[in-house]
Symmetry: C2
Subunit: 307 residues, 2 copies
């Protein structure tokens, strides 16, 4: 499972940071989360093809999360995409998407299918699951948990031999969840997978805050995820501004990471008013005080999430 | 008078070229022509402030000329612009602009005033004049001639002394177009500016094709301009594609430049399917065969047009 940050900035672009967008790849499934202006150009320098995107998720309808969508769709069409594209967003997304698709003269050669997601809803895109939570941002806004299916438990080799199951294809069938029958001295025996497999193993997971003031719901969305991508618009000294505009500080993001017991925390969407140095010297340090495994990704950084 | 190319690409971005946009500055007047996606980010590396833009002109409503507009307006507002912004485009522009301004949750803190321009119309923005022509692109589309007012003629110092006009402020008043009276031995004499000034001198001018198949109207829009910025989407071997999509080849652009007797030709909007080398080795060479003062600007190149 891989995350590529296409844009890590907030509100408006800087020379170093495009507005928000990241791509998640798991096996044959590719989704894009957020699509700030310029996302399609960022993709040209990343290992992601617009043509191969299966779906796009938008957390809320502020420009820095959405304005790259019409251009990306247009470019997919000019580059001969023919597959349907499913796009997901919060309440009001259908109207915004319709405007985005009709404000210029162009007609994609493929179907674009907008979906409104309610908080709590679970969406399936090929092999990935996307659970939406409610974000607290003053307008309809979502958080997401993106997770793989659980994998089958570990195969108990000793147990299989003890039961007299012949090594080879039969083992694979059991690992794939099939019940088999074997013949031995005592007649026919049915062997179900649970007899030779350990408990199912958790799939990998990513949580993403969207833009939000801290909420308890986000802790449950992020619970035990491998990584949490969290907005950190302000530093502690601007916590009043964070509250006013319903954003989070780096400290608040780190508190969520700690309470949710995530593996790593990636801070994004810091205000473009901070220089790179300030982001590192202030925001990241504030987060690390609370949660040591905090990181500040750059545009075009990719992270592999290992099993 | 200065032109800064913010984006020189066509159709969709490449790593080296943003979709189309250029800024024109003349004295205290700043206008933006075209606003492809990513224009605001390009401006961060150019000597142009979005806050100081007086007006924006869009030639036609294809995404690569328009999709950067909502983000630019939003960023102006987030950076405390308060001045009205006038935006101009062809038939249908009002509807597109309304969609662009309402598809996300944001409310600029300043007035945005859309205007539809008819071909032939002359628009005044502070000290600049913008004449629109009809482009041939299959949808409502414009070309532009952007020009300064004529400057007063050269001041005839000898004539002024001969007429007994005292040197100093009086000379400046005449140069500024004021009629004055002077007292001398023979009584009072009225002196009009034409008595001491040569014929008015032509202001500087820029012509821009928009996206278009070649037209005679464009020759008259570009007539004797200092520079012509012309689309060159294809090379000669794809002239059938140029005709089909109502674009121009580099050769066709150069023919317009030659017939209009312009000073220099700048080719933009070549298809992203050409590499940089192909653009230089094919498109530019084809143009230079017809019109030697042809150039292929890069993103962020600025040109000074001298008097």
């Amino acid at each position: 499972m891989r995350v590529c940050f296409l844009g890590t900035g907030g509100s408006w672009p800087t020379r170093k940071r495009n507005p928000l967008s990241f791509a998640v790849t798991s096996g044959r499934t590719n989704i894009l989360v957020e699509c700030g202006e310029g996302t399609q150009r960022q993709m040209l320098s990343a290992p992601i093809s617009p043509i191969k995107l299966d779906a796009i998720f938008i957390s809320h309808l502020h420009g820095d999360h959405f304005l790259g969508l019409p251009g990306l769709v247009q470019t997919m069409s000019l580059n001969d995409r023919t597959n349907d594209l499913h796009v997901y967003g919060p309440e009001g997304f259908d109207v915004s998407f319709e405007k985005a698709m009709t404000m210029c003269h162009y007609h994609p050669r493929f179907e674009t299918i907008p979906h409104i997601i309610e908080p709590g809803e679970l969406t399936r895109v090929k092999d990935l699951n996307i659970k939406a939570g409610n974000a607290d941002h003053g307008i309809p806004a979502l958080s997401f948990r993106i997770f793989e299916d659980p994998r089958p438990g570990r195969f108990n080799r000793e147990k299989a031999l003890e039961l007299g199951i012949p090594e080879g294809k039969t083992w694979s069938r059991l690992q794939n969840g099939e019940t088999i029958t074997i013949e031995n001295g005592e007649g026919t025996t049915r062997i179900s997978p649970s007899m030779v497999l350990g408990p199912p193993r958790k799939g990998r997971s990513i949580a993403y805050s969207g833009d939000t003031a801290p909420t308890d719901e986000l802790i449950s969305i992020a619970k035990d995820s491998d990584i949490l991508i969290h907005e950190a618009t302000y530093s502690d000294d601007l916590s009043d501004k964070a509250a006013e505009y319903k954003h989070s500080t780096a400290t608040q993001a780190a508190l969520i990471a700690r309470k949710a017991k995530v593996g790593k925390l990636y801070l994004v969407h810091s205000s473009p008013r901070y220089s790179r140095q300030e982001k590192e010297k202030v925001l990241l340090i504030e987060a690390k005080k609370i949660f040591s495994r905090s990181f500040l990704p750059d545009d075009l950084d990719c992270i592999e999430i290992n099993r």
